[in-house]
């Protein structure tokens, strides 16, 4: 993968499995997730609601609820997180990773001044004193495009709009100059016009600061043109992963192809029927053996239903997929190239 700062990738995940034991059954939320992310690279994680995207992020960040059983290895900048004692792991993650969540209104404590919330991480991890933290926070607020940053510092969350609050959240995430920024459905709760502004902001921040970024979303259109690589999740497993351009140009997994076909396009004739994927997401209580997408896949056969496909490589070293009957490489392109995707996302 691209990027080079040191020999090891920034984030490396191997065999990550997450399950929750309920009185009824054992739920498999994630199964055998593995990927790596280099410094300065941006990654999109795409999947439907319930595919496990948020749980994946929480598992990596150590934020999963106590009843979740997690196995596998997560290495951040070479360090195996499982080997760190709790307090050190917390501060290590807090310093190196910044997170932006979905709902900016509930992500900010209504009782605490904004400036303090923005600067908080820097005071804790970088040990900045109050005035240095204030300067830092004000600079960050300015960087994310808040007009009148100094006044915002003393304000309270309820005084700002949703888009502004999300910018504030981004500033908060940048407080310790993290090497990785994770945006978990960061634009889902915002108006469409504001979505684009925020995504542009994230992209420019990532490039200017040479951070790595993970964009988690259910909207494939968002990752087009904004991420270097993408992982498609389905039913808690990786369906396909690789460079964004390759995925968009030559999707191999049937699910990826279906997602791409379902995206409405500007060049479709008016009143053309939107493609949908029939069926419903998998029932985590009653997991089927074999490929989780089989019940909804037009090309599925008994083999698909019984045996879980292994990860196979497609041409380019970084393009992997798990499908018994992948789309042939030389099939007609499912949709225009990734660059054009930015018009929609």
């Amino acid at each position: 993968m691209s990027g080079a700062r040191g020999a090891h990738p920034l984030l490396s995940v191997k065999g990550l499995t997450c399950s929750i034991r309920t009185p009824q059954a054992r739920l498999s939320i994630l199964t055998d997730i593995g990927f790596s992310l280099d410094h300065g690279t941006s990654l999109g994680i795409v999947g439907e609601s319930g595919a496990g995207k948020s749980m994946l992020i929480k598992a990596i960040m150590g934020l999963a609820p106590r009843i979740a059983e997690i196995t596998g290895t997560v290495r951040l900048d070479g360090t195996d997180l499982a080997t760190l004692p709790e307090a050190r792991k917390r501060s290590y993650l807090g310093r190196k990773v910044g997170m932006v969540f979905q709902n900016p209104t509930t992500s900010l404590n209504p009782f605490v001044k904004i400036g303090r919330q923005v600067a908080e991480a820097s005071r804790l991890h970088l040990k900045l004193d109050r005035s240095a933290a204030r300067t830092l926070a004000t600079d960050l607020l300015r960087t994310v495009g808040i007009p009148d940053a100094a006044q915002c510092y003393d304000g309270f969350p309820h005084q700002f709009s949703g888009g502004m609050k999300q910018r504030i959240m981004i500033a908060t995430a940048l407080a310790c100059a993290p090497e990785l920024l994770i945006a978990d459905e960061a634009t889902t709760a915002l108006d469409v016009t504001v979505q684009k502004e925020i995504l542009d902001l994230l992209q420019s921040l990532q490039q200017n600061r040479r951070m790595s970024m993970i964009l988690v979303t259910h909207n494939l259109g968002i990752v087009a043109g904004r991420t270097d690589e993408v992982i498609v999740l389905y039913g808690g497993r990786i369906a396909e992963m690789g460079r964004t351009e390759h995925l968009f140009r030559t999707p191999r997994h049937r699910y990826t192809a279906a997602l791409l076909a379902a995206m409405p396009r500007m060049d479709q004739p008016p009143h053309s029927r939107l493609q949908t994927i029939p069926g419903a997401p998998p029932d985590l209580l009653r997991p089927e053996p074999g490929c989780p997408f089989a019940p909804r896949c037009g090309a599925a056969d008994d083999r698909c239903r019984q045996t879980m496909p292994d990860m196979a490589r497609s041409g380019d070293a970084n393009h992997h997929f798990a499908c018994h009957h992948p789309i042939p490489v030389d099939a007609a392109p499912a949709l225009p190239s990734a660059q054009e995707g930015t018009r929609h996302g």
């Binding site: 501060s91 807090g94 404590n109 309820h158």
Partner: protein, 321 residues
């Protein structure tokens, strides 16, 4: 700055004004009490051996032969001059008497409140962070029982334990804080303990449920993602949003503490409001009863006003209006 101060003043004035109808209702009712007495009020007070002259004199002096409204306005007039009448038998000025006694009750109530908060709230913080653990389950069971113990039971049991069995604390008596602070501590311990049994359990329960709710908020997840420890999150992020509910409980505790003080003072012979009203009941001393009712209402109106303003101070979203 000026506008904030005047806004607060307006808010205070508005709330006090809202308390006026309540005050009037209660004090009017208190004045009307003497009309409830069987036969003439003076007759009932002085007993069977009173002569007609004594009855007439008492009636004239206290106005028991006048209609309710006249008595009420007389009383109100006296109130504004700081004169609440005189006790029936010892002829002491009621206002002066009440203030002295109220100070005692107030001290006990205040200490009991502080102790209960200091016990209940920190424990709630600990168990909210580790809900489902052994401490949480144990405290839930214990507080359940504590909340089921009426004050008069705790006075008897704790009185037995500490005065009779262990002999650590006095069974009765009181020394003023200003006369002898250490001695006062000695006498205040038992009443405070009895009141705190129920109160600390109550504060614990309410605070815990509030903390648990706050800990599920998104901004707590954000704080965890930033790498804050649970202790830091409890103190800096969970405490303030949970305060409004605790404040509400403060106001409601007042009712309990006042009612409890009757029992506690009567049992431990402590010269406070509770003890005063009990002797007044025995002696049919209406002016005292009337004064205590009025004082109580005033205190409640003021306290609830303070609680309301407290919300505005704590929660930046609440407008002082």
């Amino acid at each position: 700055m000026r506008s904030t101060r005047s806004r607060y003043l307006r808010a205070v004035a508005l709330r006090l004004a809202a308390g006026i109808p309540v005050f009037i209702l209660v004090t009017l009712g208190a004045t009307a009490l003497s009309d409830l007495m069987p036969g003439s009020a003076a007759q009932a007070i002085l007993g069977d051996y009173a002569t007609p002259e004594q009855i007439a004199a008492l009636n004239a002096e206290y106005g028991y032969d006048q209609p309710v409204l006249v008595r009420y306005f007389d009383w109100l007039g006296g109130l504004f001059q700081g004169d609440l009448g005189q006790t029936l038998f010892s002829r002491q000025p009621v206002a002066e008497l009440l203030l002295k006694r109220a100070a005692v009750t107030f001290q006990i109530a205040l200490v009991a409140m502080v102790v209960s908060v200091l016990i209940g709230v920190p424990l709630a913080m600990i168990t909210a962070a580790r809900s489902g653990g052994w401490l949480d389950n144990t405290l839930r069971a214990i507080t359940s029982v504590m909340l089921s113990i009426p004050t008069f039971v705790s006075v008897v049991v704790l009185g037995y334990l500490f005065s009779i069995v262990l002999r650590w604390l006095p069974a009765t008596g009181w020394v003023s804080l200003f006369d002898d602070p250490l001695g006062n501590l000695y006498y205040v311990a038992l009443p405070v303990m009895c009141l705190s049994v129920h109160q600390s359990a109550y504060f614990y329960r309410v605070s815990r449920s509030q903390f648990v709710a706050t800990l599920q908020e998104d901004y707590v997840l954000v704080a965890r993602a930033k790498g804050m420890s649970t202790t830091y999150i409890m103190l800096r992020h969970a405490l303030r949003p949970s305060l409004p509910q605790v404040l509400t409980v403060f106001g409601l505790s007042l009712t309990f503490l006042l009612g409890g003080s009757f029992i506690v003072e009567s049992y431990f012979a402590i010269p406070g409001i509770g003890w005063t009203i009990l002797s007044a009941v025995k002696a049919h001393d209406l002016p005292v009863v009337q004064a205590i009712l009025s004082l109580t209402v005033m205190i409640f109106v003021v306290v609830f006003m303070l609680v309301d303003l407290g919300y505005a101070l704590i929660d930046p979203r609440v407008e002082v209006s």
